[in-house]
């Protein structure tokens, strides 16, 4: 392991700790405010791959606009390392839970960033990760609920320096 990588790891944990603090401080309130603040979902356009991936997920259905909490900075210096938390309010019982949250990028070379799959054992439909953004764009999250309902939220992120070769 070289020194540079170790440094990156140290940096990584520092950043995560700070974010966890912010998340812990008002996760519920934050989620609620973010859901309210997301733009009208269906307006997003992007790469051909993005359009295809979104169509594949929606399968012709129209998603409800909003409902997926997206905690992501509005502006980042470095697109290589963009912390993001996604969450949907749900009882997470066998009768009613969130099956999956899809994270999509309209402007990255690859549109499908990740698909997170949950079960009632998850207890909470919430995940925190770190993504790459090639350029300024509107990040998209689509949630699939156990009753088939689809929710879609978006958040625009201003990227100063794109993630190289994302």
């Amino acid at each position: 392991m070289d020194k540079r990588l170790l440094m990156k790891d140290a940096f990584c944990f520092k950043l995560l700790d700070r974010r966890d603090f912010v998340l812990g401080a008002g996760a519920g309130a934050l989620l609620a405010s973010l859901v309210g603040g997301t733009r009208k979902a269906n307006a997003v356009t992007g790469s051909e791959e993005f359009e295809a991936a979104l169509a594949e997920i929606l399968k012709g259905a129209t998603p409800n606009s909003g409902g997926v909490g997206m905690d992501i900075p509005a502006a980042v210096e470095n697109g290589d390392y963009v912390p993001i938390a996604l969450g949907v309010e749900s009882p997470m019982t066998a009768e009613s839970y969130v099956r999956a949250i899809h994270l999509l990028s309209p402007a990255n070379p690859r549109a499908r960033v990740a698909t997170f799959t949950f079960t009632p054992l998850s207890g909470r439909a919430r995940v925190t990760t770190v993504m790459r953004l090639a350029k300024t764009q509107e990040v998209v999250a689509v949630a699939e609920l156990s009753d088939g309902t689809l929710l879609m939220s978006t958040r625009s992120v201003d990227v100063k320096v794109g993630g190289c070769g994302t």
Partner: protein, 107 residues
Amino acid sequence: MKKPPRIKIPEGIKAGDVIEIKTLATHIMETGNRKDAAGNKIPRDIIHTFRATFEGREVFSVALGSGIAANPYFAFFLRVPGPGTFELTWIDDEGETTVEKVPLVVA
């Protein structure tokens, strides 16, 4: 993985608690879109699958693309059914599979 993944599980958990589990893997997450100095494409090498199970039951999983940053970090939740073994699996493009088993001590 060059070094074992880091896993953080809270202490003093009780059955029925919903706990947050944090994981950090070590991986370059080479996107497959970059070229080397000679102009040759650098092949993709990413962790494409992450899975968390409890006593064999699925808890949480991720299908990763190249848009997940190097050294993939995931924080997610588990509703603790009781004592048991929590198993975490990472699989990359080269077929390397890393499995970590963590016994959950439940009060």
